[in-house]
Amino acid sequence: MYEGVVVLNEKDRELAIKTIMERGGDGVLRCIQCGACQSTCPMAFADFTLNPRKLIRLIQLGFLEEMIEDSSTWACQACNRCVEICPRNVKPFEIVFAYRRYQAMELAFSTSAVQSQMNLYMKGHAVFSEAYKETRQKVGLPPETPTAVSYPEALKEIQTLIENSPIMELGLF
């Protein structure tokens, strides 16, 4: 299919690309490994084992499971510098997140991600602190926020959306 390209294992390659495309990373085949994304990526500056260029290459070669325990993708800042700069409209950020989604649904994520999911489901807020009412009053605001945590019917809507999603298969809640 790709003349002149050495394909390690066609079946692995197809599965890796399909997995990423289905989860939002539809530009994966357009990458020419120019390295522009890596040159501007905070993950790369901070020296994580994976950066968008590397991850994309590994996926193109058919490696999917091999990196599942690598937490680099969870350090992606979703900053989109890579999307801005990529000359091939690969949208590398979307591939990093597509890989994350693959990891997440295989339960390869850290406990901190579980806590914020729980908070979102229970309170409507990923970041939550019990002391908020006091803090608000100190700066002269009413203790209650006008947000989901103060509106049970809003919370119900959010829970309905989450309950009707594949996330429920993970058994987090």
Binding site: A78, V127, T147, S165
Partner: protein, 306 residues
């Protein structure tokens, strides 16, 4: 007068409500009336639904946008993650038929429909577009003459520019926050790490040391290159990192200086004369001294203008 729907998110109303107060005090006086979006949830942030399931992310975000649509207002938010998430959601739903269909199906479960009638603005973008530097300068009581500001815009207000209603001419050399600070009459010089990431977000929860490494490099660039009197951020997450992370580095002896940090609207509200106990009260790196200098007799604009 423009009316906008204030989307609060999580960090601002629950951890940094002094920033919320600064919006509520400063914006109406500048001609932007704020209405609450009752029942708004987490945007949802990058580490939650966006990391698990794309259509569910879009549906929860779209629900938040429908709250503004119901009130016939545009959304304004001060949290960069919220801004990035909501602007990205709007872009995807409006450009991809498949996802739009998936979102509408999910929203139907809660009797809602995404219409696309509300625009999403970052508070800096709203100030820049609907008020403008000139009018801001007219409204301030105290000026920041001869004070140096290091700006930190925050990633999601810069990239990807394709999802934003208001665009920087070049997001790698941001100018909107610079002009807004210059409207307070401060000096806002360039420094080499001006567009660099502060290290907050997913990186901080994944690897604290690497995250603080990026912060340290940025702070040293600010100190050595422009010796700023303060850092002014356009993102509540950057605020937590530049202030709280700076404290960690200072306590460890990894840096030997302290630079006070403000969210832009906090500084704006102080320059307009609002009470620091309400608009700038939650911090790790001390701000009392710089606040006293800002709200001092000799900085009164009318006096300077004679």
């Amino acid at each position: 007068m423009k009316t906008m729907g204030l989307f609060l998110g999580c960090n601002i109303p629950l951890k940094l409500p002094d920033i919320e107060q600064s919006f509520r005090k400063a914006l109406p006086e500048l001609g932007i009336d704020l209405v609450d979006l009752e029942g708004a949830s987490c945007c949802p942030s990058w580490g939650t639904l966006p990391s698990f399931d794309l259509p569910t992310w879009l549906a929860v975000s779209a629900r938040n946008i429908t709250l503004a649509e119901a009130k016939d207002v545009d959304v304004v938010t001060g949290c960069n993650s919220c801004f990035g998430i909501l602007a990205e959601t709007k872009h995807i739903i409006e450009h991809d038929e498949e996802y739009r269909k998936a979102v509408q199906e999910k929203l139907a479960l809660i009797n809602r429909e995404y219409k696309g009638t509300s625009q999403v603005y970052h508070v800096l973008h709203a100030l820049y577009k609907f008020v403008g530097p000139e009018k801001i300068n007219e409204k301030i009581k105290y000026t920041l003459k001869q004070l140096t500001i290091a700006i930190q815009v925050g990633c999601h207000a810069l990239w990807p520019s394709k999802v934003m209603a208001i665009k920087e001419p070049n997001p790698f050399f941001p100018t909107i926050l610079k002009e807004l600070c210059e409207a307070l009459e401060a000096d806002v010089p360039h420094y080499s790490r001006i567009e660099a990431c502060c290290g907050m977000g997913g990186m901080r929860s994944t690897n604290m040391e690497k995250s603080l490494g990026l912060l340290k490099e940025k702070l040293i660039s600010i100190k050595e290159e422009i010796d700023a009197d303060m850092i002014v951020v356009g993102c509540s997450s950057c605020y937590l990192q530049m202030d709280g992370g700076q404290k960690i580095l200072r306590d460890r002896g990894e840096i030997d200086f302290e630079i006070p940090v403000f969210y832009y609207t906090q500084l704006l509200a102080l320059c307009m004369g609002f009470d620091p106990k309400q608009v700038a009260a939650i911090n790790e790196i001390p701000r009392e001294e710089i606040i006293a200098r800002i709200q001092s007799e000799e900085r009164l604009k009318e006096k300077q203008e004679g």
